[in-house]
C-alpha cells in the first residue's frame, strides 16, 4: 500500500518537469528527441528508482533515525535522569548529540542521489580531475560540520545569522584564493546536499533539540540546520581543491629539485 502512495508522489514530482521538457521540445524546439525510447526508459527508471529509494528509507532507516534523534536529545538520556537536569544546560553535556549530528550528516550526504549526480557530471566534465569520491567526501564533511555546529547553536541559543554571516565571510575570502575551476562547483555543492535523505533526519534532530533544550522554541530555533548544511560544503569543497592544488605544487617543486 505504502509503495503506491510513494510512487504517486514521485510521479507528481516528475510530472511538471516532464510537461515542461516535452512541451518545450514539441512546441518550441520542434525537433524529434534523439533516442526518444531510451530517454523515456530513463525517466521510468528514475521514477522507479526514487520510489524504491524513498519507500525503503521510510521502511528501514527513517523511523529508526527519527526515534534515535528523539532519544538522544531526551534530557533523561543526556542527564542520566531528569532529577539531574539543571534549568540552564551546559552546551558540553550534549556531546553525543554533536557526534550523532556529525555522523548522520556525513553518512546521509554520501547516500544523497542528487550529490551523486553532480559528482558524476563534474567527473565527466573535468576529464577525471575531480574524483567522484573526493567531491562526495568533501561535501559530506561540510554537511557533517555544518549540522554539528547547527546543533551546538540550538543548544546555546546563539542567533543563527551570526554563524551564517561568518560563514559567508569565509566563503568570500576562500573564493579569492581557491583555484578558479572549482568555484562554481563549490557554490553548487551547497544546494545539492540537502534533499531526500538528509532533510527528514536532520529536521527530526533539530526539532528534538529545540523541543527539549530549556528556553528554546521549536518555532524559532527548530529552523536553521538546513542553512548550516548548505553553507559548510561550499567551504570544504574549496578547501579540498586548495589542498589538492597545494600538494600538487609541492610535488612539482620536489621533482624539480
Amino acid at each position: 500500500m505504502g509503495i503506491f502512495t510513494t510512487a504517486l508522489s514521485t510521479l507528481r514530482d516528475v510530472l511538471p518537469i516532464a510537461v515542461i521538457i516535452f512541451g518545450f521540445q514539441f512546441l518550441v524546439i520542434r525537433r524529434p528527441i534523439a533516442n526518444l525510447k531510451r530517454v523515456l526508459a530513463g525517466f521510468v527508471y528514475v521514477l522507479i528508482g526514487l520510489t524504491l529509494f524513498l519507500e525503503g528509507l521510510e521502511q528501514a532507516l527513517f523511523p529508526l533515525g527519527r526515534l534515535m534523534a528523539e532519544q538522544l536529545t531526551d534530557p533523561a538520556f543526556i542527564f542520566g535522569s531528569l532529577d539531574n537536569m539543571t534549568s540552564v544546560v551546559h552546551w558540553a553535556d550534549y556531546y553525543w548529540v554533536y557526534l550523532f549530528a556529525f555522523a548522520i550528516g556525513f553518512s546521509t550526504t554520501v547516500a544523497e542521489p542528487s550529490l551523486l549526480a553532480v559528482a558524476i557530471k563534474a567527473n565527466q566534465v573535468s576529464g577525471g580531475a575531480i574524483g567522484i569520491w573526493g567531491l562526495r567526501i568533501a561535501v559530506a564533511l561540510g554537511v557533517a560540520i555544518g549540522i554539528a555546529l547547527g546543533s551546538f547553536r540550538i543548544v546555546t541559543g546563539y542567533p543563527l545569522h551570526y554563524f551564517i554571516i561568518a560563514g559567508y565571510l569565509v566563503v568570500v575570502i576562500q573564493t579569492i584564493f581557491a583555484p578558479r575551476l572549482i568555484i562554481p562547483l563549490a557554490y553548487d555543492s551547497g544546494g545539492v546536499t540537502t534533499s531526500t535523505v538528509t532533510v527528514p533526519l536532520v529536521a527530526a534532530l533539530g526539532l528534538g533539540l529545540a523541543e527539549t533544550v530549556p528556553g528554546r522554541s521549536t518555532l524559532i530555533d527548530g529552523f536553521g540546520l538546513i542553512a548550516f548544511a548548505s553553507l559548510f560544503p561550499i567551504i570544504t569543497v574549496m578547501a579540498y581543491a586548495q589542498l589538492s592544488e597545494y600538494t600538487a605544487r609541492r610535488q612539482r617543486r620536489k621533482t624539480a629539485q
Binding site: 521538457i21 534523439a34 530513463g42 525517466f43 527508471y45 528501514a60 553532480v118 562554481p184 518555532l219
Partner: protein
C-alpha cells in the same frame, strides 16, 4: 549475453550498497552502543535497505539514460536555435515548475504560517494562514525561476559567478538586518530545500550543455553554478516577503 547485463548491474548494486553503508553503521552504532537498545524489526530493516539499494541503482541508470541526455540535448537545441527569449522562458518554467510543487517546500511554508500566526504577525485564522503559506510558496518558486534565468544569462555572457554570489550574500546580510526575526530561520532554510533530486541533474546537465555549445565557454567555469543561484535567491525573496507582509 546474460553476464554482460548482469555484471554491470551487480557492480552498480554493490556501489549503491557501499553508498548506504555509512548510514547503516552510524545507526547501528548509536542504537547498540550509545543507546544500548536492540534493533527493532530486523527483517523490515534488511528489506528496506534492499529497496534503497535497488532504488539508487535504478536512479543512476535513469540518470545516464534520461535526465542527463535530455538536459544536454535541449541546451544544444536552444543554443543552435539562437533564441534567447525562449531559452530564458524555458529556464524560468523549469525553475518555477519544479519548485512550486516540491513537498519539502509545501511542508516548510505551512510551518512558516504557524510561526507567523503564533508570533502574532498574521491573524490566527485558517484562511489567513493558508493564504500566507501559498503566497510564500509562490514567492520561493518565482525566486527559483528567476535564479535559473539569471544563471543561464550568466552562462550566455560568460560572467564570473563569484561577483553574483558576493552581491547575493551582501543582499542576504542587508535583508537579515530588516527582516522580522521569526522569518530569518525559515528564509535561510528555504534556500536548501528548493532543489529536488530530479531538478539537480537536469539543471546541471542544462548548464554544462549550454557551456559546451557556446564557443569560448568552459563547462567547468561556466557550466556549473545554476544550483548555487537557486539556493541563494529564495533567501532574499523570503525575507523580502517577510518585510512586506509584517
Amino acid at each position: 549475453m546474460m553476464t554482460s547485463v548482469l555484471q554491470p548491474l551487480a557492480r552498480s548494486m554493490m556501489d549503491s550498497f557501499r553508498d548506504l553503508l555509512p548510514i547503516i553503521l552510524v545507526i547501528g552504532f548509536f542504537q547498540l552502543v550509545v543507546l544500548q537498545q536492540p534493533i527493532p524489526d530486523l527483517f523490515d530493516l534488511l528489506f528496506g535497505t534492499l529497496l534503497v539499494v535497488l532504488g539508487l541503482t535504478f536512479f543512476v541508470f535513469g540518470l545516464e539514460m534520461g535526465l542527463f541526455p535530455i538536459g544536454e540535448s535541449m541546451a544544444r537545441a536552444f543554443a543552435s536555435k539562437g533564441s534567447v527569449t525562449w531559452l530564458l522562458l524555458f529556464a524560468f518554467a523549469l525553475g518555477f515548475g519544479t519548485t512550486v510543487a516540491e513537498p519539502a517546500l509545501i511542508a516548510i511554508s505551512k510551518e512558516a504560517a504557524t510561526v507567523a500566526a503564533e508570533g502574532g504577525m498574521i491573524a490566527n485564522d485558517k484562511a489567513v494562514m493558508t493564504r500566507y503559506a501559498v503566497n510564500l510558496r509562490l514567492t520561493v518558486a518565482v525566486s527559483v525561476g528567476l535564479a535559473i534565468v539569471i544563471g543561464v544569462f550568466r552562462i550566455l555572457k560568460g560572467w564570473p559567478i563569484q561577483y553574483f554570489i558576493v552581491v547575493g550574500y551582501i543582499l542576504v546580510v542587508i535583508m537579515t538586518w530588516f527582516a522580522p526575526r521569526s522569518i530569518i530561520g525559515i528564509a535561510y532554510d528555504s534556500g536548501g530545500v528548493t532543489t529536488s533530486t530530479i531538478t539537480v541533474p537536469l539543471v546541471t546537465a542544462l548548464g554544462v550543455g549550454l557551456a559546451n555549445s557556446i564557443q569560448g565557454r568552459n563547462p567547468m567555469i561556466d557550466g556549473f553554478g545554476l544550483i548555487a543561484f537557486a539556493s541563494l535567491t529564495p533567501m532574499i525573496f523570503v525575507m523580502a516577503f517577510g518585510i512586506l507582509v509584517h
